[in-house]
């Protein structure tokens, strides 16, 4: 994948991720329950794992996807490297959250899984971009 292609994938995936994370953040602060297939969203969103340092994980996701979306329009190597680091950290944490849903809580939040899947796409695109920049 060339750099424009990676940037496009990064931007689109980050935009979708941002929408999901922003929705979950709004639901969190409104105190409601996400519209959810399977009924696992409420369990996951109200679990202890839904916050980190007292901050909703959904809000952290919103910030991460926003950062990556902005990085997609910038070309500075330091930005590309920083975005790749953020994206890789994000995908590792997303994998942990999938583990929590499946093994610890035994409840699947489809919005979270969608966000986690987008994290994989975003990380792949950010990594590809970094390699292209360094080539």
């Amino acid at each position: 994948m060339n750099d424009p292609g990676a940037r496009l994938v990064l931007a689109v995936a980050a935009a979708f991720g941002l929408v999901i994370a922003a929705y979950l953040t709004a639901v969190h602060y409104r105190g409601g329950v996400p519209v959810c297939a399977g009924g696992g969203c409420e369990v996951v969103q109200r679990s202890r794992y839904a916050e980190l340092f007292g901050v909703p994980v959904a809000l952290l996701g919103t910030l991460v996807f926003t950062t990556l979306l902005v990085s997609a329009v910038l070309r500075a190597p330091v930005v590309v490297a920083g975005a790749a680091a953020v994206a890789l950290a994000g995908v590792a944490f997303a994998a942990y959250l999938v583990y929590v849903q499946v093994v610890v809580l035994d409840a699947i939040c489809v919005w979270c899984v969608a966000s986690d899947a987008l994290s994989v796409v975003v990380a792949a695109a950010a990594w590809q971009r970094l390699r292209h920049t360094l080539a």
Partner: protein
């Protein structure tokens, strides 16, 4: 010719330098990402192992913290070496049992269990109907992970209309998800296990032998010795205190 060779050499050196720099950058990016991710996961895991911060269930949170640091073994709460044993026969759908858990249990736990003077034994009955059975099985399955009292308390805190179908799988997941160190999936799986069935039969047998016809019913005595039924005058800790103190003195 020599210049060309030098130029090629310089080009190779430059390419090798770029390659080394690239590799260093890639390693730095991966290392940074790994450090950040490991930190986030560690914090989340530690948080996950601590009592839940909840804005909607303050009472429940306090109750869950009530058991923190107190040993549990199966259906027993408290030190195995405690000199006095208090046995409670209860039904998860019984409103009086719920009230007792809310009103009296915290005081009893603080004054007698946490101090190592008494241990509480939960003997679950399910005579009120299907929701009682489902809830009881979950509590006993949590007991297989030594978390019975946490789930018991969580279910009392969310007690619904009798046999109104309130003990759903979702509710059990929510309640169990609040309990530190409890494997929710394992609890749900083991709720139908022979071990749990055996515990239910044991409690039924003890209830028959003790002439228990209603809940909550309490028995108190020296650990390992005969237990005496306590006639409650109210659902408060004070109603049990004389019997507990007498057993401790004996």
């Amino acid at each position: 010719m020599r210049f060309a060779a030098d130029a090629r050499l310089c080009g190779a050196d430059h390419a090798a330098g770029v390659s080394r720099n690239s590799r260093r950058t890639l390693i730095a990016v991966v290392a940074t990402a790994a450090t950040v991710a490991a930190t986030l996961i560690a914090v989340s895991a530690v948080q996950g192992d601590s009592p839940q911060r909840s804005s909607t269930e303050p009472t429940l949170r306090v109750q869950q913290e009530l058991f923190a640091g107190i040993p549990q073994q199966g259906i027993v709460l408290g030190s195995p070496a405690a000199p006095v044993t208090l046995v409670e026969f209860a039904d998860l759908q019984c409103p009086y049992c719920s009230e007792f858990a809310r009103v009296a249990l915290p005081t009893l736990v603080q004054d007698y269990v946490r101090t190592g003077r008494a241990k509480l034994v939960f003997q679950g009955l399910a005579f009120l109907g299907p929701d009682s059975r489902t809830a009881l099985r979950a509590v006993l399955a949590a007991g297989l992970q030594n978390r019975a009292w946490n789930v018991l308390d969580g279910l009392y805190g969310r007690q619904g209309a009798e046999n109104g179908g309130w003990v759903t799988r979702r509710l059990l997941r929510e309640v169990a998800g609040d309990v530190r160190g409890l494997d929710v999936r394992r609890m749900l799986r083991q709720s139908t296990s022979p071990s749990v069935t055996r515990l239910i039969r044991d409690a039924d047998r003890f209830a028959r032998e003790g002439g228990v016809h209603g809940t909550p019913t309490f028995f108190v005595g020296r650990s390992g010795g005969p237990l005496q039924r306590v006639q409650l005058t109210s659902l408060s800790a004070e109603a049990l205190r004389p019997a507990l103190d007498a057993a401790l003195a004996g």
